[in-house]
Amino acid sequence: MKSFRFLNPASLDEAIALATAPDAGDARFLAGGQDLLTEMQEHLAEPDRVVNLKSVPGLDRIEAGGGRLRVGALATLVRLEREAAVRARWAALSEAAASVASPQIRSCATLGGNLCQRPRCAYYRIEEARCLKKGGTECFAYGGSNKYSAILGGGPSWIVHPSDLAPALVALDAEIVLRGAGGERRLPLEKFYVLPADGDVTKETVLAPGEVVTEVVVPEPPAGARSTYLKFRERESYDFALAAVAASLVLQDGVVRTARICLGGVAPVPWRAPQAEAALLGRRLDAALAKQAAAAALAGAAPLEQNAFKIPLTKTLVERALLALAR
């Protein structure tokens, strides 16, 4: 690991100032450290400065009330998993948090870190493979090993976004709050992520240098709303998603009034499935409709050589998530 300066700011403003100072060099914010430290050990990240957000008070709150849920960037996943209000009203979020990695990691990992984590693609994680994500010219997964790669929204990079919380929060219509030297901005979480074709391929988000995620705000679901997160892992104990689905529905007498569906593990960003949502609206949710919605969600899939299996797999997950919400 390259040597770096470790800084413990007392406030968010100080943290941002430290990260954006003219002599800051490559500065990174440290939250739970579960991804950043591994990246540093593997020489994928070599910051000059590490600005510790844990020394900033108040970034780890979880507050439910006033028609919304506010979760600070430093709230740990284990708290999101266990918090009674989250479990009761934002089930997809607590289920997503519970599905992450191992209990040991969940007790350190944070919301902000989870949303900003870098890809798990093996080529990206191997220092020697200078892939597109690391400033190279080629996505090695495309013509190489691509069993774990994207089937939706791929190209010119075929990573899948590894976050479990992101699809759940997109399905719950969350907003993300960012703070930088120029002040604060809020945007729908969906707009926080960028497809490789639409922006800087070495990044997954719109986060600017020196900008920090401060919190996520999730609206209170309407009466009758239910949500769930269904994740499929190759190894149940400890793994990233091979495919996942977050769904949030309002049902009235079995008829779908609102629907938000977001897929995980299949695209470079949390992948919203508007065709599936449209297929559901105003119709009675039964097995046939769930199947139809699942097909709509995967209609645009363009698999690579080794990952066509993700299509039937994801369809099954969508169907099952919807039917679980209908029960």
């Binding site: 090695f140 190894r235 104990s237 066509a308 299509i311 797999l313 099954t316």
Partner: protein, 744 residues
């Protein structure tokens, strides 16, 4: 009355006789003839009379391991120690184009840079340079400062590329080895043609890793002078110390090898290895101790592996299900090594068989012995083809095994295991189930064997102290399987003591001759030697007491109620009896004895799985294992080791396998994130049964057989559940979905 101190020597040069035995060299079984002393054969007490042995004994080192207090080689710190790290070839074959030694030496804290390959590397992960520094971090910085540049040379890391015309040569000689054949091909093919039913299929097992939780490595404590201590994560402390002595240029007797605890070896840790060699060289150069442990990536790339296999098998049977013929053509993928594959038809008899096995070499680290080398691969091929044959002929999956098993022990084991897994109530005994529900339940079977006995060289020493405590010692190492425990338990049994009164010393090359712990030889080597030492110590103690008490030596009995003599009504407490010993106590050396061990253990397993056809997920619900073990010294430890084997096999079935990018020459899963060994949630219900119908009263090694048939049983269970025949391990969801025709 004055007591003379006495150590009891071995008898003078007893007569010798020759016996045939199976010995294991680096994990490979070999039939050899050895000379043993022709002394009256020692015997274990009848099982019914055992007080300590053949019971469940909690392990003595459990608490230190669970609490982290156990000192592994990784944990050793000695004064003045430097830390060394390796630079590995990032490509399977490359020219070493640049190494900036000056820059590395200039890194603060770096004390030594050793270049071990200046020209050309020939396998992925081959060490190129070693940097030693005052801290691990500085050593890492030194490696970066080398700014190594490698120019790729043509390589082959997959079968197809290696056998292609004009393929880059892997070392000297052809990439495809000479065929190893067995059987009469014409006869086997004729038998196949005459079969009532015949099937043919190709099965593939990937290269698997030992995945020891403790990586390979050593701490060489040499500070100049004539002596050194090497702390080594090894399966053979004495061999390791001898190799280190040679490298250090010291007398063999002056180098002590120590391994207090082992974090797994599975056949990959017999020798000094490259890292041990470099650590010795640097220690010798600097006259300072060197700590050199592999990091996880290096462990995956350069510490050996279980060779992969691709095998095409054709088998036929008659109308009753008796195998009439079998022809197998197989390739072994052992990197630079020859790989290993047990003979097919493995544990079955086939009327006529023929096999042709060849190794295909690649620019990858050489395969090494790994828990039952060659057996799991052969088992996967054999159990799979047997199932395919049974389905094709409409036969019961248990019946076809009973009919063809090469030994009657498997027949009784199959009956019991079938009962335990619920075969009679299972709906799919001759045809697989359909993928028509979220949980399709299937059952599969497999059998295995392993043959080795102990090493005739093994010795042990027992010392009875004047305060009544007992120390039993042997240089052999405890790989985590409970060697320490049973050494103490044997002495406790022999002297009528509680286990806690006995201390076992092991894992130290200065102790009496041990054995290389591979091929399940440790227990059948060490236990007889310890038992023999105890027998001799009892004799010597009796002789001593006879002198003190004026009684005949033959009449003394040692039991939990103390020392008795046939001619006395009162008994003597153990501590009182020991109090009569001279200050240095009493010691006796014992030797391995043929009569105290047994060889050849058979194992049968069944697995019950649930397959989800919607996702391809396979969940193992239940595994049953019934295994012969001869005399179980510690039933708890035996069952624990069997379970470890079953879990390892579950890993082979569902998660493990080296993944390479042939074009880039990279291993894509050289970490525990991507190399998916089972974790807690993957562990099924396990019914672990010791086959007590095996009444041989000798000690056998039990570690290999349970790791063999589990993957085969699981693979067959997946097919039995829903009709998805996956012929390539591991059985991951993508392959199940593909086999079910769900991927379009």
């Amino acid at each position: 009355m004055k007591l003379e101190p006495r150590a009891v020597p071995l008898q003078d040069a007893p007569p010798k006789r020759k016996v045939k035995t199976t010995q294991v060299v680096n994990g490979i079984e070999t039939e050899v003839e050895i000379e043993v002393e022709d002394v009256p054969a020692g015997q274990w007490p009848p099982r019914a009379s055992l007080r300590v042995l053949n019971h469940d004994i909690p392990r003595v080192d459990g608490p230190v391991k669970v609490s982290g207090a156990a000192r592994y080689t990784h944990d050793v710190r000695v004064p003045g120690m430097v830390w060394a790290r390796l630079l590995l070839s990032p490509l399977p074959r490359a020219r070493v184009a640049a190494l900036d030694l000056e820059a590395a030496r200039a890194v603060p804290g770096v004390v030594h840079v050793l270049v071990v390959e200046r020209e050309e590397t020939g396998w992925l992960g081959q060490p190129v340079a070693v940097v030693a520094a005052e801290t691990l971090e500085a050593a890492g910085d030194g490696l970066r400062a080398l700014a190594a540049r490698f120019e790729p040379l043509p390589w082959v890391v997959d079968h197809a590329a290696a056998v292609r015309e004009g393929a880059p040569a892997v070392g000297r000689g052809a990439n495809v080895g000479r065929p190893e054949t067995d059987g009469d091909e014409a006869r086997a093919r004729a038998a196949l043609s005459a079969s009532a039913t015949r099937v043919r299929a190709t099965y593939t097992v990937p290269v698997q890793h030992h995945a020891s939780l403790e990586t390979h490595g050593v701490v060489v404590d040499y500070r100049g002078g004539e002596d050194a201590v090497v702390y080594c994560s090894t399966q053979y402390a004495q061999g390791f110390a001898a190799e280190a002595a040679k490298e250090l240029g010291l007398k063999a007797g002056n180098v002590r090898g120590v391994v207090e605890h082992m974090g797994g070896g599975f056949g990959s840790k017999f020798g000094l290895d490259a890292q041990g060699l470099y650590a010795c060289r640097i220690a010798k150069e600097l006259k300072r101790p060197v700590h050199l442990m592999l990091d996880r990536r290096a462990e995956f790339l350069m510490s050996g592996n279980r060779s992969g296999t691709s095998m095409t098998i054709e088998a036929g049977c008659d109308a009753q299900g008796s195998l009439t013929g079998l022809v197998a053509e197989a390739w072994k993928h052992g990197g630079l090594g020859r790989g290993s594959l047990s003979g097919l038809p493995y544990c079955y008899k086939a009327g006529a068989h023929f096999r042709d096995v060849r190794s295909v070499r690649m620019h990858l680290d050489a395969s090494r012995a790994m828990r039952a080398p060659g057996h799991p691969q052969a088992s996967f091929g054999m159990e799979s083809i047997l199932d395919e044959l049974a389905y094709a002929a409409g036969l019961d999956l248990v019946e076809i095994r009973r009919r063809n098993a090469a030994h009657p022990a498997w027949v009784r084991q199959l009956d019991r295991v079938a009962r335990e897994i619920g075969w009679d109530q299972h709906p799919h005994r001759t045809q697989p189930g359909k993928p028509d529900r979220e949980e399709c339940i299937g059952i599969g079977f497999g059998i295995s064997n392993w043959g080795s006995g102990g090493s005739s060289d093994c010795e042990a020493e027992v010392r009875i102290e004047k305060d009544g405590s007992v120390v039993v010692a042997c240089a052999a190492q405890d790989l985590g399987t409970g060697t320490r425990m049973y050494m103490a338990a044997i002495a406790a049994e022999e002297f009528g003591l509680p286990v806690a009164a006995v201390t076992a010393r092991l894992g130290d090359s200065r102790l009496p001759t041990g054995v290389a712990s591979g091929g399940s030889v440790t227990t059948p080597s060490v236990a007889p030697a310890v038992k023999d030492a105890c027998t001799r110590a009892r004799g010597a103690f009796a002789a001593h007491l006879a002198q003190v008490l004026g009684r005949s030596a033959e009449g003394f009995r040692f039991g939990p109620d103390g020392v008795r003599h046939d001619g006395m009504t009162e008994r003597l407490a153990w501590s009182k009896a020991c109090g009569t010993l001279p200050a240095e106590g009493l010691s006796a050396r014992g030797k391995w004895q043929e009569s105290l061990q047994t060889r050849g253990v058979r194992c049968t397993q069944a697995a019950q799985v649930a397959v989800d056809p919607g996702t391809g997920r396979v969940r193992v619900l239940h595994m049953v294992c019934l295994q012969e073990v001869g005399l179980a010294l510690n039933r708890l430890a035996v069952k624990s080791q069997i379970q470890g084997g079953m879990i390892q096999a579950l890993g082979y079935a569902l998660g493990e396998g080296r993944q390479l990018d042939s074009a880039l020459g990279l291993q894509l899963n050289a970490s525990f994130e991507e190399y998916k060994i089972p974790h807690a949630l993957e562990i099924p219900r396990m019914t672990t049964l010791i086959d007590d119908d095996d009444t041989r009263n000798g000690v056998a090694g039990v570690g290999e057989p349970p790791a063999i048939p589990g993957a085969s049983a699981i693979a067959n269970a997946v097919h039995n559940a829903c009709g998805a025949r996956v012929r390539e391990l591991p059985i991951t969801p993508d392959k199940v979905l593909l086999a079910l025709g769900k991927v379009v």
